[in-house]
């Protein structure tokens, strides 16, 4: 238990500095963007030069860069991300509204890619060099070469336009009045295509990692020992070879979360899923830089939290992790 706490403390300190760098970086990008919050405000409300001066002064925009950075940090500490120009609402509110949808999409896609990917990886890695191993390796490489948004469009053409099995986009049937289980089922059918488009690409990654790890594990002495003890092949594959290849996949789960957040931008745009990714695209279309940077900050926090959880899970799974630090 102390092990986990030591690990957590060390990671939290590191995460603090990382987050500070991200915040400063996003402040610099905000400064580089043409126009400021007052310009954006005046565009939507109108006002004369005196009004602009007054607002600049009141919002602290006429002060030095360092003061503005301090103001920005202070606002962020109070969890105030500013006002969205396109939505005319606090950015925090808009983001929190969209976050659950994206988490649901990412969670399902991760489950799909990790589950199916590692299962197929075990199937391929059980006999390295066999036909099925080569077939799965090549096809996973081909899958990894597919752009997610294009896979999404192809899935729409096949399953929504031609076969009419699944809805073309959105997160649920609009104004259907469904509640409870019926609504959950409705959302699930809407999620099938976007989750597949997002998940299938990363499936290839887990498959290849599992396969490579298993090919490596087959050469280890403990596999030879297990064979010498006369264990059934099935048991060697699952309990010895696959088990030892699994841990890098768990680490990948955390590292991949940033990629998947990025990938969800295009997937949500293709399927008109009202999540964080589509919000990012709307922010770009509406030239709403503060909103876009708010999304980036929230994504960074999300990635840090996910990696922290993965590390903790890892510390519990593998007794070697963090043991040295706890002892010191």
């Amino acid at each position: 238990m102390t092990r986990a706490i030591t690990l957590l403390r060390r990671r939290l300190v590191g995460s603090f500095f990382v987050l500070l760098i991200v915040v400063i970086g996003s402040f610099l990008l905000l400064e580089a963007a043409p126009g400021d919050a007052v310009d954006a405000y005046i565009v939507s409300t109108g006002g004369d030069a005196g009004m602009i001066e007054l607002l600049r002064h009141r919002w602290g925009l006429d002060q030095s860069e360092l003061t503005r950075l301090a103001n920005y940090l202070w606002a962020l500490l109070r969890l105030d991300l500013g006002q969205s120009v396109t939505f005319s609402r606090p950015i925090r509110e808009v983001i929190l509204e969209r976050l659950p949808t994206t988490l649901m999409l990412m969670g399902s896609a991760t489950a799909l890619s990790f589950g199916l990917g590692s299962a197929l990886g075990i199937y391929a890695g059980a006999r390295p060099g066999s036909f099925r191993d080569r077939f799965l390796s090549i096809s996973s490489l081909a899958l990894y070469a597919v752009p997610g948004f294009w896979l999404g469009l192809v899935l729409i053409v096949v399953f929504a336009v031609d076969l009419r099995w699944l809805p073309i986009g959105g997160i649920e049937t609009i104004a259907s009045g469904k509640t409870g289980l019926a609504r959950a089922a409705d959302i699930a059918t809407h999620l099938v295509l976007p989750v597949s488009a997002l998940g299938f690409i990363y499936l290839a990654l887990y498959l290849r990692m599992m396969r490579a790890g298993m090919a490596e594990a087959w050469r280890q002495d403990f596999v030879l020992a297990a064979r010498a003890r006369g264990l059934p092949r099935r048991r060697i594959v699952l309990a010895h070879v696959a088990r030892n290849a699994l841990s890098p996949l768990v680490t990948m789960l955390g590292l991949q979360s940033a990629q998947m957040l990025g990938g969800s931008v295009v997937i949500e745009s293709v399927f008109a899923v009202p999540g964080l990714g589509r919000l990012a695209q709307e922010a770009v279309a509406g030239r709403d830089t503060p909103l876009l940077l708010g999304i980036i900050l929230v994504s960074a926090v999300l990635v840090i939290v996910i990696n922290l959880l993965v590390d903790l899970a890892y510390a519990f799974l593998d007794p070697r992790v963090g043991a040295g630090e706890a002892g010191a």
Binding site: L29, V157, L261, A300
Partner: protein
């Protein structure tokens, strides 16, 4: 067994190399085979493929020649992919060498910055960068490189950490070379091979990121891109799905070619290393 495996491994590398060669020829031949503006109107709108032999792949919603666009798109994809990967590898190698060679506080600061860049989803960063600075070819290249240099930096740093303890580095110090000179003339070149082994993955990722950016309308508006073609075709997805599907197939083949050729190179060098 080993010989059999190596035999089966070769055709993939050959296929990858051939795809890439074909692509480079396409990119180079584009202005010769299809002179003039590929975005100009060439015929009736939405002509299906294989109908008119002067327009073999038909036309898009605005009557532009799809085959010409495909050839010119290969230019953009390859140029952006290679330039962004080169920039990412260069930044990564320099940052990694500085961090690994200097050590201490500089190392700590550079690695936290690397962490920060890895924490922000690279596609979101590229999106923000292009939307703030404005879309042009150079900006797209910079935006992609901005999210791709962290991997090379980590690999370079790890390599430099082991190299800087070697005898020839101590020798360079003894003859009075400046630390910067040692870092960039003695250490960096020797740390490059494992960094360059990442290049196929980075080129592939850069091509896919460029496609996604132009799909969202953030590519250079004066250039034909495959991502932009897919976005264009999306408006008529029900009636003319081939307009989106054809450039997507080109993208898949390109990226697959890069992966296969890269794997071939890494594998053949691994074989050479194990022989020596």
């Amino acid at each position: 067994m080993n010989r059999l495996r190596r035999f089966f491994r070769t055709p993939e590398a050959i296929a990858g190399a051939n795809t890439l060669a074909l692509l480079i020829v396409m990119a180079l031949a584009a202005p010769l085979l299809f002179p003039g503006d590929p975005q100009a109107i060439a015929g009736p709108a939405l002509l299906p493929p294989f109908q008119d032999w002067s327009l073999p792949l038909g036309t898009d919603r605005l009557g532009r020649d799809v085959l010409a666009e495909l050839f010119h798109g290969a230019r953009t994809s390859l140029a952006v992919g290679l330039a962004a990967a080169a920039a990412a590898l260069l930044i990564g190698a320099v940052v990694g060498t500085l961090a690994g060679f200097a050590g201490g506080l500089i190392d700590e600061a550079l690695m936290r910055i690397t962490d920060a860049f890895q924490t922000v989803p690279s596609f979101l960063l590229a999106l923000a960068f292009v939307s703030i600075v404005g879309p042009s070819l150079g900006v797209v290249v910079a935006a992609i490189a901005l999210g791709a240099w962290t991997g090379p930096a980590r690999v370079a740093r790890a390599e430099v950490l082991s190299i800087r303890e070697r005898d020839y580095v101590a020798g360079a110090r003894v003859i009075g070379m400046q630390p910067m000179e040692i870092a960039f003339r003695e250490v960096l070149p020797n740390a490059l091979p494992p960094v360059l082994a990442l290049s196929s993955v980075i080129v592939a990722a850069a091509i896919l990121t460029e496609a996604a950016l132009s799909f969202l309308g953030l590519g250079d508006p004066n250039r034909v891109t495959w991502g932009g073609m897919i976005a264009e075709g999306r408006a008529v997805l029900r009636t003319a799905p081939f307009l989106s599907i054809v450039p997507g197939i080109a993208l898949v083949l390109t990226v697959l070619g890069v992966y296969l050729a890269g794997e071939g190179v890494v594998e053949s060098s691994a074989v050479r290393r194990s022989l020596s």
